[in-house]
């Protein structure tokens, strides 16, 4: 059946079995390969994307359930060409990635965390990130990256409020 999806700001009609996990629609139909397959059971977080700004596991989310919501994948949060999200920049500054396979999911979880809680404690970071496995063991750099990104976002917010300027595009609820 035809399902209407909004992905990274674009609206698309996809002909697909409505029970298909969102992950495979994103990867195979939409050809957005930054979102990864890891376990198929919502156990590892490699497939994390945002639905209306909330981090979800796309490997167990039927595509039908995502219809009518804003879907954001790693490709939609930033790149060198369109400008890096502060979380992505922090990932480079802290040299987080190793093999890199889990990092799209880590970054999506981190962005969702910071949207809800701009100053997370270590315990809050752990709680928000424990669904994302990294076999290369980059956890302490992920933690540092989140703290660095939180500080960068806070500085940005402070300067925006001082100058009376608009919010940064990264602080709106849809990421």
């Amino acid at each position: 059946m035809i399902i209407a999806l909004n992905v990274n700001g674009e609206t698309l009609d996809i002909d697909v079995d409505p029970a298909t996990p969102l992950l495979w629609v994103i990867r195979e139909q939409l050809r957005l390969s930054g979102t990864k397959f890891g376990c198929g059971m919502a156990l590892c977080g490699a497939c994390t994307v945002h639905l209306d700004g909330k981090a979800i596991r796309s490997c167990v989310t039927p595509v039908q359930a995502a219809s009518g919501q804003q879907i954001t994948t790693i490709e939609g949060v930033g790149s060198a060409a369109i400008g890096l999200h502060p979380v992505q920049q922090a990932w480079i500054d802290e040299q987080v990635p190793q093999c890199g396979y889990c990092q799209s999911g880590q970054i999506m979880s981190a962005i969702a965390l910071l949207q809800e809680n701009s100053e997370p404690s270590d315990a809050e970071i752990d709680a928000a990130m424990k669904g994302n496995i990294c076999r290369c063991g980059t956890y302490q750099r992920v933690r540092r990256g989140i703290r660095r990104a939180a500080a960068a976002l806070a500085a940005k917010a402070a300067s925006a409020s001082q100058s009376g300027g608009r919010d940064s595009p990264w602080s709106d609820s849809n990421g």
Binding site: C102, G137, Q140
Partner: protein, 743 residues
């Protein structure tokens, strides 16, 4: 990257668009008979590394190693850029295509010369498969923590220095000035007396006509500009925006997707398949009987997977369905009992006379340790895209051994090596798993059965249940200790030896040692697993030396320190870890501290673990890691690899347990093969010693000491000595704790 042929390179050195390529020749240092056999023809040399200089003055290193997170690409590029005086912003790196000209001569050389540090992960005997492959130059392997210490040292640096020497000569010719008046810096040639400066690219075409120096002069450590600094990873930008392409991300026109289910019992074959309902499901293209596995090909993964679940498969029943994990450990015990009663087994290492030393001892200490099978569980499940067309087979995947895979696929499809082309992608984790070609062979066989490209993706369940596993093992020890607490004799016998040969050896000054092993084969496929045999033996030996220290009434750090009196390099690493961890400072009641030290792949690592016990569970809080890899080419890269090795080893020590039930692997996904997660991850502090000793590896040496550092810390906190991994099977509340019966 366009298609290259070897001939085009060698004859011209110039590619389309004014790009100049330097092929770097590494000649054997000593041409022994054995070496000569490895080189196909007498004067044939091997192009180990190529350097590409483009008109925009960018310099690309073409390296023969896969990038699986270990940072080989960046570190190797740094070594070349430093010797060539390339500005880092001009530096690029790509992985060599799988051609035999890229075969890893440095590895072959180390092997042929009987270098004791040689490749760890290569298990086959010198006369067996490996040598044959070497003769075919089919070696382009990433493993054994070898990239920097062999390719980097022997080839990348030589390549950079040679390319620079040729460019200087070309500039001297072009400007008609003595070469001694020229210098190179930031990808430019300078002539100070004439106040001239020009980019390397200005001399490219002239340089291509010159012959390279046979022995270019390398920099000394004081001249390094990039080596020794923490350069950021070249691959990081593509790994934070989703653009890095891993094997699983490859897309080809008209490609279909396949998934497989193999016999759960290793070695089983298909007796019958009923695919009636699967074949009519939407998107399903074909159901294929691979003999030992069934494959479903469909338009997408989800369609293939749901259809596969509907295929009714009967696998043949063999004796193996009666094998359980307890039987395997019982088999090991019997093998050890037999060897101990009749003095059998194979000698691994022997010095002094342990029997005499034992009879002179004031006390005898005995212990037995056990470790389970372990899976790799790379984040990216095994996958391979294959396309058989026009008498060729092309493969797209992440592999640690592209040429080895090509050879296996060629054999399976009855093709010549030259008809198989491997396009290596980023590896979503390797850890040794992606050195085994089983999944690529499946993909190639499926592709040979259809007329379109097929991407084979294993489910996580298939990945976990059809791995090549780190071996389960039992190791038994006996030590003789004198009245002052000094160890006089060390006896060790264990099950199942692979690589490297020195993994069970100890650095300690114990006069009489007798280390033996027995073979006790099982039907569970074996595989290289990050640090290979070191991963188990460091747990065994560093637990037992800790037990000896406790038995002798000594401090575990001080006891080790004293036994390393004639090993100053070890002592320095041990002392640094203890010092930075504030060894001796008191800890809260529910905490403990443990230490371990182990050398692997030329690198010595000591770790101090601080553990906290809560409700009988151990929590790793802090790890202080001291490392001597000779010289840290990229210090932050080494720190990252220590952090990574610690988490990898800690995950295994706390949780890792693959067990056999009815001949098959019981575990299937991350719910029953748990991974360490962020809320359980300790802070790892890395301290680096640049001793100036020969370069060691970095990817693996962080893993071996962490399990014993953890269990020694648990003993310190609780008095419970964990002699069987994983830790989570033990109740740590009581000193007389029993092993829990946790499936």
């Amino acid at each position: 990257m366009g298609k290259w042929t070897r001939r085009a390179f060698i004859t011209t050195g110039v590619l389309a668009g004014g790009v100049v390529v330097f092929g770097v020749v590494v000649r054997p240092g000593a041409r022994t008979d054995r070496i000569a056999r490895l080189v196909a023809e007498n004067d044939e040399t091997l192009l180990n590394v190529w350097v590409k200089l483009a008109p925009d003055n960018s310099i690309t290193a073409i390296v023969p190693h896969a990038e699986m997170g270990q940072n080989a690409h960046t570190t190797l590029a740094m070594m070349l850029a430093d010797e060539m005086d390339v500005a880092w912003s001009d530096m690029r790196v790509i992985e060599a295509p799988a051609h035999k000209e890229y075969a890893n001569y440095a590895i072959a050389r180390g092997f042929a010369l009987g270098d004791r540090n040689f490749p760890a992960f290569l298990v086959d005997s010198i006369d067996g498969f490996f040598l044959k492959v070497t003769q075919f130059m089919a070696l382009q392997i990433t493993g054994g923590s070898m990239s920097v210490r062999t390719t980097g040292q022997l080839a990348m640096r030589t390549a950079g220095a040679a390319a620079k020497a040729v460019l200087l000569q070309a500039a001297a010719d072009e400007w008609q000035v003595p070469i001694g008046e020229l210098s190179a810096s930031s990808s430019h040639i300078l002539h100070a007396p004439g106040d001239r400066r020009a980019p390397y690219a200005a001399f490219a075409s002239r340089a291509a006509t010159l012959s390279q120096p046979a022995r270019p002069v390398l920099k000394n450590v004081r001249q390094f500009t990039l080596m020794g600094t923490s350069m950021p990873r070249l691959d990081a930008p593509t790994k934070i925006d989703g653009s890095a392409i891993f094997g699983i991300d490859v897309v080809l026109p008209d490609m279909k997707v396949a998934t497989v289910k193999a016999s759960p019992v290793f070695g089983g074959t298909i007796q019958s398949i009923d695919a009636t309902s699967a074949q009519t499901m939407p998107g399903v293209r074909k159901v294929i009987d691979l003999g030992d596995a069934v494959a479903v090909v469909a338009d997408g993964y989800w369609q293939a997977k749901t259809a596969l679940d509907r295929v009714a498969v009967n696998f043949t029943s063999t004796e193996r369905v009666r094998i359980n994990q307890e039987d395997i450990f019982e088999q090991f015990s019997v093998a050890l009992d037999n060897a101990q009663s009749d003095g059998g087994g194979n000698t691994d290492y022997r010095t002094g006379e342990t029997r005499d030393a034992m009879s002179a001892a004031a006390g005898i200490l005995e212990a037995e340790y056990r470790v389970p099978y372990l899976a790799h569980a790379t984040m990216e499940p095994m996958n391979c895209t294959a396309w058989v067309h026009d008498g060729q087979c092309e493969l797209w995947l992440g592999t640690q051994n592209p040429l080895g895979f090509a050879k296996e696929v060629a054999d399976a499809l009855d093709m010549r090596l030259s008809q198989v082309h491997v396009h290596n992608q980023y590896l979503g984790g390797g850890f040794g798993r992606r050195a085994f070609p089983d999944f690529a062979l499946q993909a190639a066989r499926i592709a040979a059965d259809v007329h379109y490209p097929v991407k084979l993706i294993w489910s996580r369940e298939e990945d976990m249940q059809h791995d090549h596993y780190r071996q389960a093992s039992i190791s038994r020890f006996r030590a003789g200790i004198d009245a002052a607490g000094k160890a006089l004799a060390w006896e060790n016998i264990y099950v199942d030896k692979h690589d490297p040969v020195e993994a069970p050896w100890i650095p300690y000054g114990i006069a009489a040692q007798d280390i033996r092993y027995v073979d006790s084969e099982t039907h569970v496929p074996w595989g290289f697993w990050r640090s290979v045999d070191h991963s188990l033996h460091a747990f065994f030996t560093e637990s037992f030396i800790d037990e000896i220290a406790v038995f002798a009434g000594k401090d575990p750090f001080a006891y080790r320190h004293d036994l390393l009196a004639d090993k100053p390099r070890f002592q320095r690493v041990l002392d640094l870890a203890a010092e930075k961890a504030d060894w001796g400072r008191s800890l809260p009641e529910n905490m403990g501290r443990g230490i371990a030290i182990h050398q692997s792949f030329g690198t010595i690592v000591a770790q101090v673990m601080e553990v906290e016990i809560e409700e009988g569970k151990a929590r790793a809080c802090r790890v202080v890691c001291a490392v001597d890899a000779g010289y840290a080419i990229n210090p932050d890269g080494i720190a990252a690899q220590m952090e990574s090795g610690v988490i990898f080893g800690l995950t295994a020590a706390l949780y890792g347990d693959i067990s056999i039930r009815d001949g098959a692997v019981s575990q299937s996904n991350f719910h029953d093969y748990p991974m360490l997660r962020m809320d359980e991850a300790p802070i790892v502090e890395t301290w680096i010693i640049d001793s100036g000793e020969p370069l060691g590896g970095a990817g693996e040496p962080g893993t071996p000491p962490i399990a014993p550092a953890l269990t020694n810390a648990i003993f310190d906190a609780t008095g419970v000595r964990v002699r069987q991994l994983p830790v989570r099977k033990h109740d740590l509340r009581h000193k007389d704790a029993k092993r829990l019966d946790i499936a």
